[in-house]
């Protein structure tokens, strides 16, 4: 019996769905993520303003500015690729200097505001950057520490996404559950 590989995958926070739900959060599992490095971002339509992200033309995908020559391209659900083969999310981009598939390298938690809890309030328990609406709006992203854990924060209209290395993800949810009111 052949089993589709998709069935055999396990997302880092699969066991924490109910904890996340109590925080107004959910895991966004199995999306494509590619680390893109280039010295010529203009021709690729990448955001050049530090700590911002934009949707790119072409297939639905977003590029997060992580550094002067570093972006994270995030796209639709990750497909089943050969080892080391870069997810098709970067198809059509004029060949940059380096592409590395990192789809399984970060768990993504999306926190949305609900009646009880603003994501900002929760994050302010352990994140030192300015998350006030005056300084932090949809369209922004940042590499920072949340509860001493390296994360990428991406602010969207509907909420805040927290990208975290899978190894830290379980501990970070423990922390979120502890500090949440």
């Amino acid at each position: 019996v052949t089993v589709e590989p998709e069935v055999l995958r396990r997302s880092p926070l699969a066991a924490r769905a109910s904890d996340l739900a109590r925080l107004g959060g959910r895991e966004i599992a199995f999306v494509s993520q590619v680390s893109l490095r280039t010295r010529h971002p203009g021709s690729l339509g990448l955001p050049t303003r530090p700590n911002t992200w934009t949707a790119l033309v072409g297939p639905p995908r977003e590029a997060l500015w992580l550094g002067p020559d570093e972006w994270l391209v995030v796209g639709p659900p990750a497909t089943f690729t050969a080892p080391g083969e870069v997810a098709p999310v970067v198809d059509g981009l004029v060949r940059p200097d380096s592409l590395v598939d990192v789809s399984a390298s970060r768990a993504i938690v999306e926190l949305r505001a609900d009646d009880r809890l603003e994501p900002r309030t929760l994050l302010e328990h352990g994140c030192s950057i300015d998350l006030h609406p005056r300084a932090w709006r949809a369209g922004m992203c940042a590499q920072t520490l949340l509860a001493r854990v390296p994360v990428i924060l991406q602010q969207r209209d509907e909420g805040t996404r927290v990208f975290v290395r899978p190894s830290f993800a379980d501990w970070l949810v423990d922390w979120l559950v502890t500090v949440a009111p």
Partner: protein, 870 residues
């Protein structure tokens, strides 16, 4: 005396809400709104405290954070090892005990709930008095984010709604603990049952911290009942009269207002001893007798003040019976926070006080804290023949005589006097003693006031418990924990875990009733004789991509990586600039312009940082990009003679024969139904395949390999067995067998250093006289003479007992194990001239016995390397 509680008045208390508390085992009544100190005064508790060193009876000295006497331990409803009684609001049922200034730790204690919060504001104002409130309000009106921090329970500038400005975040019952660079301020807020530690980043900070009344030093000025004058109106706010009959001793005429306040509340103030040239306001003086130029020469009373001895300008004496002596030496700008961040102070001849000078650009100081104080001619202490009971620091029990002793001993700087006497180093941070001590020193040296400024203050400005600083980071949240995608499987199998940095790695997998030695022996033998499975996911992995990737790696590793064929693997050593080994790993060439480099588990971040540093600062012309893929790939290492059979059983489309897939190469395909990269690389000496799969397949592949290997008795093994197996082969672990002082030659690894390939990091240092001398310590194997003795790791080695002491130490043990394969114990060690000494004996002195061992080559098993092909 039964109660000092007034029949009426007291804006801070709620008379309709009586509560009770226990102090030193006795229950007392109180009211909601009382502090511990106000309730002790209301109940007229005599001498509730003891001085820490001399054991003298002490009472409440102040009504604020400057308190030097009244310290308590709280044991219910929460635990606080030490707190100023003047700053803790009572709750019903609170249990407190007096403490002489030193806290005690408790094994198990219910601490207050703590949370940490970060906030960013344009303006942070510390102190909500007039001078703090208005700038806060104005900034908020401009649209700035403003935080106003007030130590008391109410915003000082009136509690009415008019004074709650829109846009201002008020933190009451909050203390700024410390100011740090660029407007980072920590603030501790007591919010009901919760302690909230704020980390505030402010563009601008205003200190409106007001002033602190300075005491005057006189004989027996520490008796219970002696207080700072402003404490009296403070406690009237709690409906408490500090004394039925009070004497006021003041160096500032304005303090006479204290007398009128007490009188209005029904107290008696028969005498005011005034040492100020200025005339007091007759309305404030009322019917008190003002004795100008008179001072307090001494006091009476055991557990409570009963009388003061006054002395006139011409030596005349009077004794006045009283139960309270209120002292006002002058107002000192409260500059503890200002000075702790580097703000300067100078003595101002008009204010007769230390006032601020220059500070950081983001910090302002306003109002009384800025020097808007009106003191009279300064009066620091009452002259006497005997200064042995003229206390200057109540919390350290230090007197003018102690200060004089330090000065007589040759100490002139207040900083030296502070360290000789410990004045100002107690938990009250010397708030009431700092200025006084400086001026006593100045006077003793015959200098004018302000000749030396008081010693500096440091954060935290108030005692703060470690539990508060720790916040949520305690217990299982003490430090982030990293786990691999297979972790849940390991837990289910009963693995015992080892901490490797932040990672939890399986140490060994004990079966029922199996101890560690037995489990490790079983795991080792399984790999040697059958097949084992290791979770190697924590290995650091970096993709090095770009046109110049090969050139770059040639410069970072001691050997050549540029001539590695695509699809092949090579081991590499990385050196520091000093030529010492800092990390090792393998490089796999995935394409002409793409390598996957592995690092040690603990070295992953360091190696990536090192790569980036060289690329960004030294070789920006190289077109190379490094990306961490440590967490992209879960790695299961299948090792042992049956490794191939297990992979075939698990299902793979990769040809595993030695010809098609030789040692130190990689192949891609599928394993157990998922895409995988196989790397034939061995850390045990056995036939071994690392199965790399995308992390989300990690658990599946782990379980699939265990299931497929069941007929072969596949055995999951942990880091301990891995350590034994690699040590049998003499493979070093960087960080265990090395400590940053070993060259490749020291480790017997000259074969991996290729000086002819061009420059690489550390190359030049290998020819330094010290790194190339011949008597360095070298890696050797050790076989204890008694094959059952396990040498302790870290044990020192000596050649023989020459009788002289100390015995020259010639080496030390770095790794030591019991090998089930060899049937004996063995060790790795660093030994002087070790390469030349195989076959000789050394001794490890352990306590009173010496354990002998034979030096050997550091390869104990399969010296020919025949087993790696299965």
């Amino acid at each position: 005396v039964t109660s000092s509680r007034l029949a009426e008045g007291g804006s801070r208390i709620d008379r309709s809400r009586p509560i009770a508390f226990r102090f030193d085992g006795v229950e007392y009544p109180a009211l909601v709104g009382d502090t511990i100190a106000s309730a002790l005064l209301a109940n007229a508790v005599d001498a509730p405290f003891r001085s820490p060193i001399l054991g003298r009876p002490r009472g409440v000295f102040s009504a604020g954070p400057e308190e030097p006497n009244a310290f308590v331990e709280i044991s219910a409803p929460w635990f606080d090892p030490i707190a100023a009684a003047t700053m803790v609001e009572l709750v019903d049922g609170m249990v407190v005990e007096s403490r002489p200034g030193v806290g005690r730790l408790r094994e198990k204690a219910p601490s207050r709930r703590v949370e940490h919060r970060h906030a960013h504001v344009e303006l942070l104002v510390i102190g909500s008095g007039h001078d703090g409130y208005y700038p806060a309000r104005d900034a908020a009106a401009r649209g700035d984010r403003v935080m106003l921090v007030e130590q008391q329970r109410d915003v000082t500038e009136g509690a009415g709604g008019d004074f709650i400005a829109e846009g201002v975040s008020y933190l009451t019952r909050a203390t700024a603990l410390g100011l740090y660079d660029d407007g980072y301020v920590t603030v501790l807020e007591h919010a009901g049952e919760l302690d909230r530690l704020w980390h505030v980043r402010a563009r601008h900070v205003i200190l409106a911290t007001g002033s602190i009344e300075r005491p005057i030093a006189f004989r027996d000025g520490d008796r219970p009942g002696v207080m700072l004058a402003l404490a009296a109106p403070g406690y009237l706010g709690n409906g408490v009269l500090v004394g039925a009959r009070s004497v006021l001793f003041t160096a500032r005429a304005s303090a006479c207002g204290v007398a009128s306040g007490l009188r209005r509340a029904g107290g008696e103030v028969p005498v005011i001893a005034l040492v100020d040239d200025r005339e007091p306001d007759p309305d404030l003086v009322g019917d008190s007798e003002v004795l100008v130029g008179w001072v307090v020469a001494g006091t009476e009373g055991e557990r409570r003040l009963t009388a003061v001895h006054l002395e006139g300008p011409s030596g005349e004496r009077r004794t006045v019976e009283c139960d309270s002596l209120l002292v006002a030496g002058g107002a000192d700008p409260n500059l503890a926070l200002w000075r702790a961040i580097g703000g300067g102070v100078r003595y101002d001849e008009e204010a007769h006080a230390f006032v601020p000078t220059d500070g950081p650009p983001w910090l302002s100081v306003v109002g009384a804290a800025a020097g808007e104080v009106w003191n009279g001619r300064p009066y620091w202490f009452v002259p006497s023949d005997d200064y042995s009971r003229h206390f200057v620091d109540l919390q350290r029990d230090q007197t003018i005589a102690d200060v004089a002793s330090a000065v007589d001993g040759g100490l002139r700087s207040v900083e030296h006097v502070k360290r000789a006497t410990y004045i100002g180093t107690a938990i009250d941070q010397g708030r009431t003693s700092g200025v006084l001590t400086a001026e006593v020193v100045n006077a003793l040296l015959g200098q004018a006031p302000g000749w030396q400024v008081p010693s500096n203050a440091r954060p935290p400005a108030m005692p703060v418990s470690y539990a508060t600083v720790a916040g949520p980071y305690r217990g299982k949240l003490l430090d982030p924990v990293r786990v691999t995608p297979m972790h849940a499987s390991h837990v289910e199998r009963g693995a015992v875990f080892e901490d490797v940095g932040q990672w939890k790695r399986p140490w060994y997998f004990p079966r029922e009733r199996e101890d560690m030695d037995a489990a490790v022996a079983r795991e080792c033998l399984a790999v040697r004789n059958g097949v084992g499975l290791l979770d190697a996911s924590t290995l650091g992995k970096i993709e090095v991509v770009g046109r110049d990737a090969a050139v770059f790696l040639d410069r970072m590793y001691t050997n050549r990586m540029s001539n590695l064929a695509v699809g092949s693997i090579r081991y590499g050593l990385m050196l520091g600039l000093d030529g010492m080994v800092v990390d090792d790993g393998v490089a796999m060439r995935l394409a002409e312009d793409r390598y996957l480099v592995t690092t040690t588990t603990g070295g992953a971040a360091m190696v990536l940082d090192r790569f980036e540093e060289w690329l960004q600062t030294e070789w920006p012309e190289l077109e190379v990009w490094c990306t961490s893929v440590t967490e992209q790939w879960a790695v299961a290492a299948v090792g042992g003679p049956d490794a191939r059979a297990v992979l075939i059983a698990a299902g793979t489309d990769i040809d595993l024969t030695n010809d098609a897939f030789p040692h130190m190469t990689i192949r891609e395909g599928t394993v157990a139904g998922v895409p995988a990269r196989l790397a034939r690389v061995s850390f045990t000496g056995e036939l071994s395949y690392e199965v790399h799969v995308e992390a989300w397949f990690g658990r599946h592949v782990w379980e699939a390999l265990l299931a497929a290997g069941e007929p072969n008795g596949i055995t999951p093994y942990g880091t301990e067995a891995m350590h034994v197996l690699r040590a049998e082969k003499g493979y070093v672990i960087v960080g265990q067998d090395t400590d940053g002082t070993m060259t490749p030659h020291d480790l017997g690894m000259d074969w991996i250093v290729n000086p002819s390939k061009g420059d690489f990091v550390g190359r030049r240092s290998l020819s330094r006289s010290d790194t190339s001398r011949t008597d360095r310590k070298h890696l050797v194997g050790l076989l204890p003479t008694d094959p059952d003795t396990v040498l302790p790791e870290g044990a020192q080695l000596v050649d023989r007992d020459t009788g002289s002491r100390p015995i020259p130490m010639t080496g030390f043990v770095t790794s030591s194990y019991r090998s089930p394969t060899l049937g004996r114990t063995f060790a790795l060690a660093m030994l002087e001239r070790g390469h030349e000494r195989h076959g000789e004996s050394v001794i490890a002195p352990l306590g009173d016995r010496g354990v002998a061992a034979t030096v050997a080559a550091p390869v104990f098993y399969d010296v020919e390397g025949t087993r790696r092909d299965g």
